[in-house]
């Protein structure tokens, strides 16, 4: 891939090495992960890693196994084989709720806000696993409102009354209230109008600039890969390509298969 050196300058302005060598502390390491839903094999020996401060995109078409991967990371599915290490700890021993406590936050596909509860209740539920005092939590709530002013405006309304884009902001804000060290985003652009998609990706970029470590899975491969430091392509439960995000988004095969170009 000749595009590689050019990409480095565009994605990382400072001090990135020439080869695909990734720096930073290893936050997430997935090795040979296989997950089945009954007789359906959804993931077949998936390996990937996410390092501190990276935005990693995993792209793949509908049914490729993207959500299954994130749900397995969060403990909603149990793998048949393989390991997941988070901050060098094998998470197999951690129950789903405990994974949140150690700093994994998951924004699920379809937002899944608690529709009958208020916006503010939803945000505070995001901080459920934290033991901080209430005034600390209220300070963080202000920060989220700073990031998403629309949520402050609507804070006393039922979350179900928000538009799709606003619900996505709420779902992200709710996850951020947990003070995560790793943010898992499942198709945040799904079902949104183009303008809102751009807004969601702007938020993702802003979080990336603030140093948040993010693993995003998307069908919207162009937007995700262009933003990502590193990307993986998932096809029918297997990782078929990996590389610098921008390089992947320029890869001819990927373009043909996923970007519809």
């Amino acid at each position: 891939m000749s595009a590689d050196t050019g990409v480095l300058e565009r994605t990382r302005a400072v001090g990135a090495p020439a080869a695909i060598r990734r720096e930073g502390e290893l936050i997430l390491k997935v090795d040979g992960l296989s997950v089945h839903h009954g007789s359906v094999c959804a993931l077949d020996g998936v390996s990937l890693e996410v390092r501190k401060g990276e935005l990693v995109a995993l792209v793949g078409s509908n049914g490729a196994g993207k959500s299954t991967l994130l749900r397995t990371l969060s403990g909603l599915h149990t793998p048949r084989a393989g390991t997941i290490h988070y901050l060098h700890q094998d998470v197999a021993t951690l129950k789903p709720a405990q994974r949140v406590e150690v700093g994994m936050a998951h924004v699920p596909e379809g937002r899944r806000v608690f529709a009958p509860l208020t916006v503010e209740d939803n945000l505070m539920l995001g901080a459920f696993s934290r033991r901080d005092r209430r005034d600390v939590l209220l300070g963080d709530l202000e920060e989220i409102y700073g990031l998403f002013p629309i949520l402050r405006e609507k804070r006393t309304l039922a979350a179900g009354t928000l538009s799709g884009g606003q619900q996505q902001m709420l779902a992200i804000g709710r996850a951020l209230m947990g003070k995560p060290r790793l943010l898992l985003l499942d198709e945040p652009s799904m079902g949104l109008a183009p303008l809102l998609i751009a807004e969601v990706f702007n938020v993702v970029r802003r979080l990336q600039q603030q140093g948040m470590t993010i693993l995003i899975v998307e069908q919207n491969a162009t937007a995700a890969l262009e933003l990502a430091d590193f990307g993986y392509v998932l096809e029918a439960g297997r990782v078929t390509k990996a590389g610098k995000g921008f390089a992947l988004s320029n890869d001819e095969e990927v373009k043909k298969a996923y970007l519809g170009i």
Partner: protein, 290 residues
Amino acid sequence: MTELLQYVITGVTVGSIYGLIALGFVLVYNSSHVINFAQGDLQMVGGMIAVAVLTAGLPLPVAVVVGTLGGAVAGFLLYKAAIEPAGDAGPLPLVVITLGAALVLRGVVELIWGRGYYSLPAFSGDEAIQFLGVTIVPQSLWVLGLTAAVVVVLTYFFNSTKTGKAILATSIDPDAATLMGINTRRMKLLCFGLGGFLGAVAGVAIAPIAFTYSMVGLMLGLKGFVAAVLGGLGNFKGAVIGGLILGVTETMMSGYGASDYKDAIAFLLILVILIFMPRGLLGASGVERV
């Protein structure tokens, strides 16, 4: 007029008991989408334990507290022994499980205390109060007061506490709740315990007015269920209002000479609800889960 007032007061007392049992149904239904048909029997267990503690020579207040806590423990055990192991069995098998649990509770109580009829002394004497020509037994006031207190505390719990909110989140979307770091099983366990506690509060509060015996939970459970459904099954205030409507209607019917048909009211109401909610209650919960 006095007569009518008398029936209303009696009806409200009975209705409060139905309301308390209905609250137990709603709590469990909200958290687990299970209709716990052992709810009436948890109420019976509370009453029986209180009677046993009193018979053992301990003072009445101790009997009351132990009885209500006994109901809570029975609720916890029900969840741990029967509901949790069934996993995601779905609403119908879980209903069957609770019906089975009800039979077990009745059986255990009969083994220990037989089929006899028992009662507790009134909490603060039997001297009736005359008010506007109406007779009110002090225990009625206890029943009303306890019900009101329970409604206030539950409303506060769900509107203003972290655990209350976590239970609501669990009920709305268990997977999303898990992703918040909420241990959803613990929340369900808590609701079964609370449901048992509420049932037992009803059982202990009514034991001085009506007899308690091994089979009492069958009819009371059904009445509580009807009250809960009347109130919309999911709404605390609705559950209590449903209970009051049922209690007052029943008392009126007996009072005005149709006492043979008193119990039929509840079943008539169930029929009406089933006809006008053709998808049924379980159907409604299925929609939420999508």
